[in-house]
Amino acid sequence: MIELLRSESKKTLTTKGSFILVASAVGVVALVAASTVLSMPPENLDGPIHDQVAYFVGSIVVAVFALMMGVRSFTDEFRHGTIVATVLAIRSRTGLLVAKAIVSVGVVLIMSVLGLVTLVGVALSLSSVKGGELGLASSDWTAFVGFVGVMLVWTVIGIGLGAMVRNQVAGVVGALVWVLVIENFASGFVGEAARYMPGQLAHAVARVSGTTNLVAVLPAAGLFIGYAVVVCLAAGLMLDRRDVL
């Protein structure tokens, strides 16, 4: 496993893709935080950060980038044909899946912390400039832990999706459509059951306000991780059985 981790780290650090995704995530979060705070009247800029619209939108933005980071881990290999050299050099394709997940989770850990720091920094400073009273509450810290944890789980889901879909465009578009479209309109189709969908569970774990009827944090975390486990088990099975072309 150490050898696979060294190999995957090398791959991740020797192309621009990961750096661009991290920088883009931080940049978009800064933009989103600034635009939402600036668009609100000062009297609404009150209370803990995790109750703010900026936090809600920021959590979706970072989730999208975390998913993309995961998806591209495998789809990059299939897209450029490096998967052949990779699978010929290793004994276990399941080990490869685990190594990719660990390395990508490491990168997304940095990305989500940077994103969160940017979000909070921009929101607090612009709120202060506008005369708002945004501040860090004790409940924010548990929300932030949930925020980072959620991003790591999204990454693992992305890894599994990428291994199954293999086509990079299909993987990225599919992930975007799921997070930005399906999750937001699901309640219209599945009613109450929408609260058990991955995006809603993620909101519950990150204590995002603005969404009602969320599952309690611990069961939500368990279910959300369950989704990631199921996706990765399916991906592991498919990696093992499908042809590598």
Binding site: L4, S7, D76, G81, V84, R91, R241, D243
Partner: protein
Amino acid sequence: MNIALEARSLTKTYGRTKAVDSLDFEVSAGIVTGFLGPNGAGKTTTMRLLLGLVRPDGGEGLVFGDPYRNLDAPARRVGALIDGAGFHPDRTALNHLQSVAAAAGVGTQRVDQVLEVCDLDRAAHRKVGGFSMGMRQRLGLATALLGEPDLLVLDEPANGLDPAGIRWLRGYLRSYAETGRTVFVSSHALAEVANVADEVIVVKEGRLVVHERTSQLLGRGRAVVVRVPDIERARTVLSRHGAEVESLGDNRLRVRGMNEDEISAVTLAADLEVTEMTITEQTLEEAFLGLVDDEGGHRD
């Protein structure tokens, strides 16, 4: 002799097309074996099946007696270049090799060695996206060599190489086999295979056409051209002794199935005058085309 690669009733179907059809052959260890066939004959699919990249619909492929995926340290047993290796265009040659070496458990010192062997040391820090096809082939070969494997499986390794590169490759593969290791190489450059391969396996439409020593295959087309004043009597006499005789005009006959000594003995006994005798050998290309045409298929 030890067996390095083995196809046992190997079968693979894509849709309605049987890419590989009950293919059986063994590749002996310690020699160079050429793998030939027209486009679409199933060469690349067979190699993928042997390396466990593709699951067979029937039969099995074995590497040193085991399925590839059961090998303990696969990169140290087998190095492969399949269908033009893939590289991330933004990654340098050095970083590509280091990432594969890490996965294979090979030290970075070996990376420097293969870069030098494949004449890529000066391009090590260049991104692969800017490489020519020949350089990409060399990098693919360098990747295959990383684990100092006992067996090299190379699919069209001469593609994109310039004449000097092809000559280098020929010499390298020959010297590789001389160290007791095995090379299994597919190629369209038949002259190169003739120069380097000890044995040849020819496939067509996923089936085995022939597997024999290269010298035997070339010998199949060996003929003796004789010039005789009495061409009709010579044709009768030689045919009576089992030779296949073909008139070339200008009092010349092409004789197959008898060697020059046998022809001399027969014509001497029949008191036939022979004014000229020339031995002709066929090239591997002629032998190959003869085989695939005999099978009634197309060729490129």
